[in-house]
């Protein structure tokens, strides 16, 4: 029986590394997806056809706060992973909760930014530029929202079963996903907002 357990744990380890590699591959496909949306944005930014243009449609300080909130969320997620590796489930859960709250604030800020643009008549159907802006930034926001749902499920699973092999693996995958979204946001911040305000 002991022998079997040993074999299974070796099995478990190699499975873990395969899963992480597979998930990393998935993230690369997601990166190509964002790259395509960036390319579309780069082509379509320009004539405003009577709508808002990059220079006057957003406030840079607001976006900076959004950025700081998302980066802090990513930081909290990193600490949560360290806590979990150190075996502290309470620490992990506390930091994951912080990750969730900050992520939710980010999504809330983005939704309010979008709805104010739509309210002033600059919705995604106004022109090609706004279509690409809403789709690029909105796709990122949708990813973050899906991540929040995933995080809730992960928290439930950790409350139920503690720091099992399975949960540790899921936490590692979630952390990869969350950091990936942070990196994509850095690009959005730079390419959409910073160059847009020049």
């Amino acid at each position: 029986m002991n022998d079997t357990n040993e074999i299974l744990s070796v099995d478990e380890r190699s499975k873990g590394s395969t899963t992480v590699f597979g998930f990393w591959l998935y993230l690369m496909t997601d990166l190509v997806l964002f790259a395509s949306l960036f390319a579309v944005f780069a082509v379509l930014r320009g004539p405003a056809f009577g709508g808002a243009s990059m220079g006057n449609m957003f406030s840079l300080p607001y976006v900076l706060v959004e950025t700081i909130v998302l980066l802090s969320s990513s930081f909290a997620c990193g600490i949560a992973l360290l806590c979990a590796r150190a075996g502290s489930i309470r620490g992990a859960l506390a930091w994951l909760s912080a990750t969730f709250v900050l992520g939710a604030i980010f999504v809330g800020m983005e939704v309010s930014e979008f709805s104010s643009l739509i309210a002033q008549g600059d919705g995604p159907s106004k022109n090609g530029f706004l279509s690409s802006y809403f789709t690029l930034v909105g796709t990122h926001g949708t990813h973050v929202a899906i991540g929040l749902l995933w995080l809730l499920i992960l928290i439930v699973a950790m409350l139920q079963r503690g720091l099992t092999h399975g949960n540790m693996r899921k936490l590692a995958l979630f952390a990869m996903f969350w950091h990936f979204l942070e990196i994509v946001w850095i690009f959005i911040f730079t390419i959409v907002y910073l160059t847009g305000s020049l």
């Binding site: 395969t18 379509l44 106004k126 090609g128 789709t135």
Partner: protein
């Protein structure tokens, strides 16, 4: 929004077919579905089907199911092809053939979309599932559950595209649906939405499979199987899957943006408000060109396995074969613009893409020569897989030369959108991809089922396909040079094209008879299965899959093999050394129906999205997400198999070395 609109979206009685040919298509489809369901019920096979096949996570069974679905879709796509050929052979001068112009457009759009997404892709993933784990000495793929989900997403896409036979129409915008024609202003019905969503779902399945098999080959190879010992088929699959991983997300984005244009009134590709329709053409070909190589690379891999085995020699130029695969992978991403030189990007841009396109002929030529060198002075057995190869080598080379001609931008300005182009890409996809997959299916069939396919019918099928192909597409090269454009539903009698179109029609009929021979081959093989039973190694094979019994056990390898050489099994046979068969405990995934259930909900979502039934979209999304979440909470997904159990089962099987 009225209540009826809320409940039924754009669905109403008026979406049913409106002419005889459309009705007969719908009725044949429905009758086929009813007949299959009735037969399963009559023979009481539902439970068996569910527990042995539909919920199976065994890649060999998933592979078989892929090929069955691809075969069924080949009948649908082939029927479309026969209608196209009939129309073009008869619609001349005062006669207008059997189809209205709109219906003709729907049919060629469906033909292309189905043949690429549901025949070629399905057949390819079928073969990959059957062969890759066995060749690399693994018991399974990296993510068995994901594999099943991918297959069922592929099925959901196939089901959705067939819905358009009965409910509503199909896209008239061709297999790649260029805007502005595919925009709402010019295609106001749900046809383009069917096209978008069936490709979107199937494409998602392909993307996930790409990740899965890439990870499988990188992470699951047997001990000792270094990169330069990897069987050539697996190399080509790795190349192909890396293209899937990088190209399919672009398709996902492009389809999504087109749907947003049509549904949310956005302006990505519209003619006004800052939209850019040439951006669509760039995006779709940035996916579409790699897609061609996604399909052809595994066919190259099949030939690289078959030619050495049936020439009784090792593959010539292994290293150059590997390098040429990766040269093709890289080059295939920097040639997409050759699909639209006429866009007018300027001489320097066109020159760059023209040169890159011509350069692809070099690594492909390396492969052709290596196969021929492998045959040179070999002891060749002219089995049907070998016949498919020789048909391929001649036709593919000719078609490739036609491609190099069109790679020159000035020539392309003349040939663009002509039947010359149509003949060229059919040569690549039919005599390249399809012949390769047929050869692979014949070659690996005994490994999966334990008996060979009937050779007599196989050879008949080959000659009919070969001659039929030459007759069907030879005339199209000539017509294209005379200026016949693609997608003509009618032409003037004074052009004198009708005889050539008639020959092409005869060729199409011969191909159809060839396909019937393949059905007959399957029936005959099943009837004669006891005579055609084989050992584990029916062809005197070289790679690991032939070292296990036929049919291969569900766990593939009783004891995990250790690899010492490139053609491991061949070396073992030559040196007389045997794999050390120490059995160990291991785990295998349990069956799961969750993949099928998720795909069913995704189908509901997509159907709702096509018909603007938003509550159905929400229902599908909720159902798919809930099933996925519940699945992640299920930790009891594996079954442990004891060494003693394996030893017991293996004792009852005939090992390959016994023959």
């Amino acid at each position: 929004m009225s209540l009826q609109e809320f409940i039924f979206g754009k669905l109403s009685w008026s979406v049913l077919p409106d002419n005889l040919i459309a009705w007969s298509g719908a009725i044949i489809l429905l009758a086929g579905v009813v007949a299959v369901l009735a037969a399963i019920t009559y023979f009481g096979r539902w439970k068996w089907l569910w527990s042995e096949w539909l919920t199976s996570l065994d890649p060999k069974k998933i592979g078989v199911m892929y090929i069955v679905v691809a075969g069924a879709m080949l009948i649908r796509g082939g029927a479309d092809a026969l209608l196209i050929r009939t129309q073009q052979a008869t619609s001349v001068g005062d006669s207008f053939g059997i189809l209205s112009a709109t219906h003709f457009q729907e049919i060629f759009s469906a033909h292309g979309s189905i043949m690429i997404f549901f025949v070629a892709m399905g057949f390819m993933f079928g073969l990959i599932n059957l062969v890759v784990p066995l060749q690399i000495g693994a018991r399974d793929v990296a993510f068995p559950f994901l594999n099943s989900a991918s297959f069922w997403l592929f099925c959901a896409g196939a089901a959705l595209i067939n819905c358009s036979l009965l409910l509503g129409d199909f896209s008239t915008a061709g297999w790649l649906a260029y805007p502005p024609l595919s925009e709402l202003a010019y295609s106001p019905t749900t046809g383009v939405d069917y096209w978008i969503w069936s490709l979107q779902i199937a494409g998602l399945g392909s993307l996930l499979s790409g990740v899965n098999f890439f990870a499988t080959i990188v992470k699951m190879r047997a001990k000792g199987m270094t990169w330069m010992r990897l069987p050539m088929f697996c190399w080509t699959v790795l190349g192909s899957m890396s293209l899937v991983v990088f190209a399919f997300p672009i398709l996902t984005v492009t389809l999504a943006l087109l749907y947003l244009d049509r549904t949310a009134a956005m302006h990505f590709f519209t003619a006004g408000q800052g939209g850019n329709m040439m951006m669509y053409v760039n995006l779709i070909w940035a996916w579409g060109h790699p897609e061609v190589y996604i399909l052809i690379l595994p066919a190259f891999g099949v030939f690289s396995e078959i030619v050495p085995v049936f020439s009784s020699k090792k593959l010539a130029g292994y290293t150059s074969m590997v390098l040429s695969i990766w040269a093709i992978v890289v080059l295939s991403f920097i040639v997409w613009l050759h699909h639209f030189f006429t866009m007018g990007a300027g001489a320097d841009v066109n020159a760059f893409f023209g040169i890159m396109t011509a350069v692809i002929a070099v690594p492909t030529g390396v492969k052709i020569f290596n196969w021929l060198f492998t045959m040179y002075r070999g002891k060749i057995r002219f089995t049907s897989p070998m016949l498919w190869f020789m048909g391929f080598v001649v036709l593919f080379t000719l078609g490739g030369v036609a491609g190099v001609i069109m790679a020159e931008p000035p020539a392309d300005y003349e040939l663009h959108n002509s039947l010359f182009l149509v003949a060229h890409f059919h040569t690549m996809i039919v005599s390249g991809v399809l012949f390769g997959y047929f050869a692979g299916l014949t070659y690996w069939f005994p490994k999966i089922f334990g008996f060979r396919l009937d050779e007599k019918w196989g050879i008949r099928a080959f000659w009919l396909w070969l001659i039929g192909f030459i007759l069907a597409f030879g005339p199209l090269y000539l017509l294209g040079l005379e200026g016949a454009t693609r997608r003509l539903d009618h032409y003037s009698a004074s052009l004198g094209w009708q005889p050539l179109f008639a020959v092409a029609g005869i060729g199409a009929i011969l191909i159809a008879i060839g396909f019937c021979c393949q059905i007959a081959q399957l029936v005959a093989s099943i009837r004669l299965r006891h005579e055609n039973r084989t050992s584990g190694d029916p062809w005197n094979g070289r790679t690991l899959e032939w070292s296990v019994s036929s049919p291969a056990p569900s766990y593939n390898f009783a004891a995990q093999p250790v690899v010492h050489a490139r053609d491991e099994f061949w070396e073992e046979k030559m040196s007389g050394s045997k794999q050390d068969r120490q059995f160990e405990d291991f785990s295998m995934p349990k069956n799961s129906g969750a993949g099928a259930i998720i795909a069913a909900f995704v189908f509901v979502l997509a159907f709702g999205a096509v018909w603007h039934i938003w509550w159905l979209v929400a229902l599908g999304l909720l159902g798919a997400a809930t099933t996925l979440i519940l699945r992640t909470f299920d930790e009891d997904t594996e079954v442990y198999i004891r060494a003693s159990e394996v030893a017991h089962r293996e004792a009852g099987l005939r090992p390959a070395s016994a023959v």
